[in-house]
């Protein structure tokens, strides 16, 4: 069984973070989350990290792996070579709580403000007849609120008030399928210097999103919608 080297960012707020090497034996079929959990279980019980589902659904295990935002639970070890350390650091642009742990509540509060509903109409299997007794075909939204896009976004680094890719993509989803949401309010939220207009299309969000959300395209669609709304107001006599 190969021995993997992990270089984990360790430390606590107030102290200076350092990178530390750990060695862990696991088959190549295992995932990065298994390696980190095994280090916690067998080597250092003070290691802080988040995880729950281990199948890219809860959104808890986001980190930066060799500088790139990833979910640990779907990052297979076979992608790496045992000879070179795999560097794991916490997400950026969130309050840091220590080691690999960040506080995701600012993102969650923004998602709450948008009223992003997590159960959506299912389009993946919508071509099929409905099972008896089921009125709607639903599934969970693609966005798992993992925050990878926020960490990767260069605008987030410059503007703390920026709504961020996940939130803007959520607004775009709510406009498409309001589920009781107030669309006028959502448009006002997005039509703001810290909203859809702040994005400068670096596309990093879409590159790192593990869940098919494609926030960059969603922001593009949102902007076109905002322009159309302005145009309509203008035609309609400036109301």
């Amino acid at each position: 069984m190969p021995t993997w080297q992990l270089r984990l960012l360790r430390g606590r707020p107030g102290g200076s973070p350092r990178l530390e090497i750990y060695r862990v034996e696991l088959p190549a079929e295992a995932y990065l989350i298994d390696a980190v959990e095994k280090i916690w279980a067998e080597q250092d019980r003070s290691l802080l990290f988040r995880h729950a589902c281990h199948h890219a659904s809860c959104g808890a295990c986001g980190v930066r792996v060799n500088g790139r935002e990833r979910l640990m639970c779907i990052t297979p070890l076979r992608e790496f070579s045992p000879d070179r350390p795999i560097q794991v650091e916490p997400l950026r642009h969130f309050p840091w709580l220590g080691d690999l742990l960040v506080d995701v509540s600012p993102m969650m509060r923004r998602m709450a403000e948008v009223g992003f509903a997590i159960v959506r109409q299912d389009e993946l299997t919508a071509d099929r007849p409905l099972p008896e007794g089921i009125e709607r075909i639903t599934r969970f939204e693609d966005c798992i609120e993992c925050g990878l896009c926020l960490s990767a976004c260069p605008v987030m680094a410059a503007d703390e008030a920026y709504l961020g890719p996940a939130t803007l993509a959520a607004i775009e989803r709510m406009l498409k399928e309001p589920r009781g949401g107030d669309t006028a309010r959502l448009l006002t939220l997005a039509d703001d210097p810290h909203g859809a207009w702040r994005c400068h299309s670096a596309m990093e969000c879409t590159a790192v999103c593990p869940s098919n959300v494609d926030p960059a395209s969603a922001i593009g669609r949102l902007r076109r919608r905002l322009i159309a709304e302005r145009f309509r107001r203008w035609i309609g006599g400036g109301r």
Binding site: E29, C53, H55, A56, S57, L124, N212
Partner: protein, 386 residues
Amino acid sequence: MSYHVIVIGAGSTGAAVAHDLALRGFRVTVVERGEVASGTSGRNHCLLHSGGRYAMRDPESARECIEENMILRRIMPEALELNDGLFVALDEQDLAWKERFLAACEECGIPAREIPVRQALALEPHLNPNILAAVQVPDGVFEPFRFCLSFLATARRNGATVLTYTEVVDFVFQGRTVAGVRVRDRRTGEERVIGGDIVVNAAGPWSGRIAAMAGVDVPVVPTAGVMISVGRRWNRMVINRLNMPGDGDIIVPQRRTAIIGTTSWRVEDPDFIPIPEDHVRLLLDRAERFIPGYTRGGIRGIFAVARPLVGRRGVAADGRELSRTFECFDHAADGVEGFVTITGGKMTTARAMAEKAVDVVCAKLGLEIPCRTREVPLLSYRAFFD
């Protein structure tokens, strides 16, 4: 009244217990050594059981499941996908169970209805076209992390304190009565004592270890299972095999994925569970029988976690024979006052487990406060982050 109850563990059981306690007016502190749902609850198969799986062998569990399934639809719509489930017969052996299965479902109050194979294949075109029968039941799918967060968010709104990354390392006694717990904060390394009138052990497969800290024995058998998630959602409904419960006989769809599970073997240490390679092969093989080409969208994740099965004498070594219902132990029977363990069960029955545990807590304190968790809708999981 301001009794203080400490709940150990923030999996589905601890989260539901905290909510029930807070709703009945207790002061509540939850201590969880990791993230919410970082134990068994976060990593399970995500099936909101209709009870169909247990109808033939374990009718008590089956009845619990259907009752709780219906309650959760009311109180927790935000963390559920409700697209029903199918039990399908893959061969003559499966088919032979059909009448008994339908009768058992009826007996347990599970609305089950046979549908023509043609119709089943129209609903689920990726299903093996050679299936011999299909029965529709009200299965569902949950999102485990948000399931737990919804209970905890509501508990918090009602005054509960939730301490994550805080590990119980010992118990504090006054004579033979538990007076609190000693905890270590994983962030600071500091230890302190939290005093309480009652301690509820909801530590899942770790509840045996917790009980041992208090000097009592809890017959919990950590029984692990493997699951494999793939890159494509093949099925809309939950697909179960129409037979006695066995390995690799359920494919749960969720979001854009499908998850095959599970297997079953005893583990000593649930902290880290190495995944047996032969279990992975077995699951992929079984999945192929339900949905030919199951891995064509790639494998997304392979994971394992341990059930907290309550041990009884004379059970099979693989744990499958153990009842999936739950047990609440008042350790006064073991000579330790102020300490209760609630374990076994399933995520689906977390609310009922909590009701039972809090009834025991009330009885111990001589209180009569009715449970209201059947009716009170839960807050959004996001309220946990307020």
